[in-house]
């Protein structure tokens, strides 16, 4: 279903698609796939809701976002379960992320009646002041790695500043976004202020960016797609915010506290099974501690519990999809061809309970030289659009 102007609707074309359970490879949920004509409906809904949303006074808007935060916490188990199942993310991480999403709505609820314009002491005789105004209809394009949290990062401040929204979640992971929009209605946020249209990035994302009534695009996803977003947005000088890929370095000097640095090095790259734009996927070790550090890393990598994401003891779940696992597996091959040393991981588990899922053991390469492709390229597959 799509959520447009407060109603759960099928796509106008009647098209559907299936979500694939990353733990089994089997379809588990069928959803309406939005098309270009649904983008038009959703944008028109958001446009029509602008005046009403601006009329809601700052205290009432604050209260609505706080109520939404409370509803998120009241539905925490349900949201965490959906997210874990949909992304293949350990339930413990999903539960933390639901709380972070609620925190985010509380934070921006507080900003609503504290952030405004200013008066400026200009030279000319008179009074100079600024109004801080909403941009208008914003198109939000969210990723599959932290679907609810990153959606909250966009929706909460955009609503706080008085905008109305069309949200396109990643097509693989739309479930918590749809639920969030229902909770927003229950919190009193008027119909049309937050519309959600899951669908293919190449169709829905592009139509949203091209739509003349959309004044701003906020996109989180790959650098490749971010380039296209910026290019398309240029036609009508649409505002863009882009949060794209990384290949971040974790630099450990010989005087570091290794008791802390080793476990943090593990989790700064393997949190969310490594599917994090902030993952510190390059570890730079100063020579005197190199051998001892690597030994301890290997020990900790091997001790991690890979398993079903819904098992509360699981530390590493599946990757989001089989395509993503194949992509990482390709990088592992490239690393071996380039002459890096594969110290552990690099393969999928073969046990009967895990063999059907998109699992991959945490992989560690040493002897990586900075010019190697595995040191320069990201292993996150293009997502979102």
């Amino acid at each position: 279903m799509l959520l447009i102007h407060g109603d759960r609707l099928p796509a106008l074309s009647g098209t559907h698609y299936s979500l694939i359970d990353p733990t089994t490879g089997q379809p588990w949920e069928t959803l309406a796939a939005a098309g270009v004509e649904d983008v038009d409906r959703a944008v028109e809904s958001a446009e029509s809701a602008r005046a009403e949303w601006r009329r809601v006074n700052s205290r009432d808007r604050t209260r609505m976002l706080l109520t939404l935060a409370t509803l998120i916490r009241e539905h925490a188990d349900e949201l965490a379960h959906l997210e874990s199942r949909n992304v293949g993310k350990p339930i413990r991480e999903a539960a933390d992320e639901v709380q972070l999403a609620a925190d985010c709505f509380e934070y921006y609820a507080g900003a609503i009646n504290k952030i405004g314009g200013q008066t400026i002491p200009v030279a000319a005789a008179g009074t100079s002041l600024t109004f801080r105004e909403p941009i208008g209809v914003c198109g939000l394009i969210a990723p599959w790695n932290f679907p609810l949290v990153i959606t909250a990062w966009k929706v909460a401040p955009a609503l706080a500043m008085g905008n109305t929204l069309v949200l396109k979640p990643a097509s693989q992971t739309p479930l918590t976004a749809l639920r969030l929009a229902e909770l927003a209605l229950a919190a009193g946020i008027p119909p049309g202020v937050l519309n959600v249209i899951p669908g293919a990035g190449s169709i829905v994302g592009e139509a949203l960016i091209r739509h003349p009534l959309v004044r701003k695009i906020s996109f989180t996803g790959s650098t490749e797609v971010g380039t296209q977003v910026m290019r398309l947005a240029a036609d009508d000088i649409k505002r863009v915010t882009l949060e794209l890929g990384g290949k971040s370095a974790n630099v450990v000097f010989a005087d570091a506290d290794l008791e802390k640095a080793v476990p943090k090095a593990v989790w700064s790259v393997l949190g969310n099974a490594g599917q994090d734009c902030c993952a510190r996927s390059r570890l730079l070790l100063q020579r005197p501690i190199y051998d001892a550090f690597v030994d301890r890393l290997v020990e900790q990598f091997k001790a991690l519990k890979l398993g079903n994401p819904l098992d509360p003891t699981t530390e590493i779940g599946t990757l989001v999809s089989f395509a993503q696992r194949d992509r990482v597996a390709d990088y592992i091959q490239i690393g071996q061809h380039e002459g890096a040393t594969l110290v552990c991981g690099g393969a999928a588990p073969t046990s009967p309970e895990l063999a059907q899922g998109a699992y991959l053991y945490p992989t560690l390469f040493t002897d990586v030289r900075p010019e190697m492709r595995i040191s320069r390229r990201r292993s996150l597959v293009r997502c979102c659009v």
Partner: protein, 92 residues
């Protein structure tokens, strides 16, 4: 997937860290506060943490430099990216 690389000097570590088209996050581990701050300034990134992996905070700006992005999310910084400033002048 984690790629481990060895370095000898601070300058070399900075050069390797910056040898990337991206600049989103990063961490530095050292007990030498002056070095931590020197390296934090020298690394081309939008976000960096010192002696912790915890670099993203709801209340602080988050975003990338180079090909990691444009604009900032989170903190009060994001509010400028969801609003327009209209400048008004009233003559006497």
């Amino acid at each position: 997937m984690l790629c481990v690389t060895v370095f000898d000097t601070e300058e070399e570590a900075i050069a390797i860290a910056n040898r990337s088209l991206y600049g989103l996050s990063g961490s530095i581990w050292t007990r030498d506060i002056s070095r931590a701050l020197r390296v934090a300034k020298a690394i081309e990134t939008g976000v960096i943490s010192i002696n912790t992996g915890h670099s993203v905070h709801l209340e602080a700006p988050f975003g990338g430099v180079k090909r990691s992005g444009l604009g900032r999310e989170l903190g009060l910084a994001v509010l400028d990216h969801y609003s327009e400033i209209k400048s008004v002048f009233i003559g006497e």
